[in-house]
Amino acid sequence: MKSNGVNRTLQAARTQELIYELKVQQAMTTKVITVEPENTMEDLRQILKLHQLSGTPVMNEGDLVGIVSVEDLIRSLLEGNGSEPVKQRMSANFVTLYADEPLVHAVQKFERHGFGRFPVIDRKTKELVGILTKGDIIRCMLQRLEIDFHEQEIRRYKPSDWFAELESDRTTLGLRYLIQGRNFQRAGEASSKLKQNLRTLGIAPEAVRRITIASYEAEMNLVIFTGGGELSAFVEPGKVTITVVDHGPGIPDIERAMQPGYSTAPDWVRELGFGAGMGLPNIKNCSNELKLDSKVGEGTNLQFTVFT
């Protein structure tokens, strides 16, 4: 085979691999429209037209007895006989495929016999289970190539793999977000971006959800109660650790602040729906480990970990 690029050769190699890997049953159409030997050619014409087919198997009481195609129909119509039965025109010498054969057999048979379609039968029961056209093969291969492509993308991003490849005693991926105090318009942006990134990294959705909720609560506390600070996420195999640091005013009584319902939010903030005193308890519920340090006049340092 000639080819004009490495990429094309690789693609070609992959499609070749695929026709060995894929089975007929993965590509075939399982909803088979059939006709009976006693149906007229006119019936056939309507069925082919209705389902936009160019041929169909002929079934007699559950047994496959032939194949009839649009060519047979044309020949019959040319001879002016729409009322003759299908059995007069069908080919009784048809070739079948087994459902569990590799697609490569089908490709060879298409080349050898020049037929447009093959009925597919089950190797054991000998029952008709589907029908295969060249179009089916192409569709199946394209889908498969697309899945391959997606899997490659995910693999490229899968942190467990990078972590395995990067040699160190402890590999951590760090993401850092600056949070502006008192800026309600941009509030929530950090946790929203973090969520997207964790998804991209392939972290389990349930863990991402918990991290997002906890980060959002922490971010809002910085926006409401402080002049701003920083939220950092450290991704490691098996866990994500978030640290949220600000520079004041600090929390005088941490134990009290952790109590559900305790809030010092001013009225105008409460009107926006904050100040239920549920933020810190929510963070605690969403995380596996939590540490909160604070010094009045200096700042607060919150750290929590979610196992992934």
Binding site: Q185, A187, E217, M220, G273, A276, G277, N282
Partner: protein, 118 residues
């Protein structure tokens, strides 16, 4: 019978302000509340959220909890920035002229109930 946002929007005559193309979403339950942390703590994924809040943070909350949509009550007008953000985050926002209580009553009548789940 499962209900979609579209069913709800039609039955309650909601004014769909953004996310028209997402109304085929199934509504798996509901939550009513105006305190954001409370919603973050208790609303279940896939629920519709009934609130009188209209500022941008409702989108962040709905998105973090993966809620299916927001119904703003009492005919309040969502802020422009809220609608913009809702568009970005794929959160439909619909407005009802009714109160929270009346919206909940109607949803209940339609058979929107909280099932199992988080």
């Amino acid at each position: 019978m499962t209900k979609t946002l579209k069913d709800i929007a039609a039955a309650l005559h909601l004014d769909v302000r953004t996310g028209e193309h997402l109304l085929a979403r199934t509504v798996t339950g509901g939550y009513a509340g105006d305190l954001l942390s409370d919603v973050l703590a208790h609303a279940r994924k896939g629920s519709v959220w009934i609130t009188l809040q209209t500022h941008t943070n409702i989108v962040a909350v709905a998105s973090a909890k993966e809620l299916c949509g927001i119904i703003v009550v009492n005919g309040r007008t969502p802020e422009e920035a809220t609608l913009r953000k809702a568009g970005e985050e794929d959160i439909p926002i619909m407005v009802s002229t009714l109160s929270t209580y009346d919206v909940v009553c109607q949803l209940c009548e339609m058979g929107v109930k909280n099932g199992e789940g988080v």
